[in-house]
Amino acid sequence: MTGSFLEVKNLKTHFFTRYGTVKAVDGVSFSVKRGETLGLVGESGCGKSITCRSILRLVPYPAGRIVGGEILLEGKDLLQMKDDEMRKIRGDKIAMILQDPMTSLNPVFRIEKQLSEGIRIHTHLKKRDIWERACELMKSVRIPAPEMRLKDYPHQLSGGMRQRVVGAIALSSEPALLIADEPTTSLDTTIQAQFLNLLLGLQRQLGLSMIVVTHDFGVVARICNEVAVMYAGKIVEKAAVREIFNHPMHPYTRAMMDAVPKVEERVDRLASIDGQPPSLYSLPKGCAFRDRCQYVIPKCQIEEVPPLVETKPGHLVRCWKSEPNNE
């Protein structure tokens, strides 16, 4: 079977609060091909985590609700599924690595218990075999002396090891799609590189599809095939990874790339993006990036939000300036 494993169409997840409605995810569409990795990039609060939680239907309730769209997994809409069907998908097909590794491990249980749980539900193996499978998983995420480590509590492991255990737990159900929300943000450079390599290796071995959430274009460069850049709840640019690095088109994407120092060359002066991301409670009219944009034209202020337009095959941009007649 070819094509997309997961297809998200016009997803809308809103929060209804005392202070108003927050459109945390506002008409987001993307797809993930089998065995490929999509990077979801953007700064804090732009809706990356809520997009991921929506896919698993784990949006904080009752304030947050998925109010529209489709999430097609191998053609079947997850949003139409019954709760028990959805639970099965979560235990079986899709696994998620949460933003903070400490919150996804329970501090009062040994690693063994936390890891066995997923295996037991998924495989119905016997006790002895579960233990062996747990050891295997610990080995696959390259934890030395797994037999001993299984007896440890989370606080006895280093940050890098904890993250690998979280990875092992996510893989224990043999998922086809792995959603990793900022999997390496809190880690040392070297441990981060190790973990990203590990993900790449496992992906090759198991044919996993992945969604990787990050605010770091370096992570994208390292492991993604495709990128979607989010800003204030919407995708503002989407393209294959080399295309976006070679020809970034949205002013936000460009600005982000120019604002990051490089290890490979000396940069005299970083271009910085003025201002801050807008509050989702009171988005400006027009383009959400207009107040920070270097290329702003009157049209950006008056008209409605610019549409996401395919400027060349596979490269989508949401900006009035990237329309051919505005060049």
């Binding site: 804090s44 590189a193 605010h215 770091d216 460069a221 390292r222 990051v260 910085s272």
Partner: protein, 325 residues
């Protein structure tokens, strides 16, 4: 011309590891900092890099008089800071300030921004400064970091992360220090705000001639900010050099591995070098010989037995590795 403001020599900080419930006795030592030396020059940035736990913050704490060194010296304009008394000690405290990683937790939430920024002025000058002069100075430093003077009336929670970091910087600047320790100053900030903060640090350095001791684990940040770099591993300096020399001609296998592990700025620039395996061993019992030998891809028999010395390979470029003995 001698522009050195701080000179660190043979610095050691060992923490006792104790056992026993009633009478605790030391059963070993964590060699957090174990014989390092470097100097910081006026108006320049010296960066310490290295993996978590290698001793960067401990070094800074010794410099900030928050930890007493086990051995070695820190000289401020030629005088050991641990022998300073009275006026000289006050002067040293005033001339070294700090900005920490997390702006939300480093600012007192119950104090107005004006009081936060004024605090070092009041502590250092006691009653000798008129409240008008204090207010004037607060307004001045707030403007220097790009905030409006009316920010003084507000509370920290009313500001974004990047603005809070500016407030912390304004506070550090209030006494016109010679040196500011920046411990991971941008890693808690949003990506789009980081460049603003880094540029601000650089601009103020050019304007005021303040020196920075920058602690960071991201090498790209270090290359952008630093004049000189010390690469730390398990309490030691593995390599020390002017920044551009270090990045264009890294010598120590550990430095090379750190550079290789840094995320690329383009998918075509993914490093072919092998990623460093394993983790930093415990500083409780650092390995014999070269501390890096267990993770080094060039390890030779001598590395397991003899501790390599930091030797000058090119002018101002020091490395501690048997490959260069």
């Amino acid at each position: 011309m001698n522009d050195t403001i701080l000179e660190i020599q043979g610095l050691k900080k060992h923490f006792p590891v104790t056992s026993g419930v009633l009478v605790s006795r030391p059963v070993g030592w964590v060699r957090a900092v174990d014989d390092i030396g470097f100097s910081i020059r006026k108006g320049e940035t010296f960066a310490l890099v290295g993996e978590s736990g290698c001793g960067k913050t401990t070094t800074a704490k010794v410099i900030l008089l928050l930890e007493r060194p086990t051995d070695g010296s820190v000289k401020f304009h030629g005088k050991n800071i641990y022998n300073l008394k009275g006026k000289n000690l006050r002067q040293y405290r005033a001339s070294t300030q700090v900005v920490l990683q997390d702006p939300s937790s480093s600012l007192n939430p119950k104090m107005r921004v004006g009081s936060i920024v004024a605090e070092p002025l009041l502590v250092n000058n006691g009653a000798s400064m008129s409240s008008k002069a204090v207010k004037q100075r607060v307004d001045e430093v707030l403007l220097q970091v790009g905030l409006q003077p009316e920010a003084a009336r507000r509370f920290p929670h009313e500001f974004s992360g990047g603005q809070k970091q500016r407030i912390a910087l304004a506070r550090a600047l209030s006494l016109s220090p010679d040196l500011i320790v920046l411990d991971e100053p941008v890693s808690a900030l949003d990506v789009s705000i980081r460049a603003q903060a880094m540029n601000l640090f650089k601009d103020l350095q050019a304007e005021l001639g303040v020196a920075y001791l920058l602690i960071a684990h991201d090498l790209a940040t270090v290359r952008y900010m630093a004049h000189e770099v010390g690469v730390m591993y398990l309490g030691r300096l593995a390599e020390r050099s002017l920044s551009e020399e270090l990045f264009t001609n890294p010598l120590h296998p550990y430095t090379k591995a750190l550079i290789a592990a840094t995320l690329p700025s383009h998918p075509d620039l993914i490093s072919g070098e092998e990623v460093l395996s394993g983790e930093v061993p415990s500083p409780l019992n650092p390995p014999p010989g070269c501390r890096f030998h267990g993770r080094c891809s060039h390890v030779m028999p001598v590395c397991r037995e003899v501790d390599p010395l930091l030797k000058e390979q090119a002018k101002g470029h020091f490395v501690a590795c048997h490959l260069f003995e």
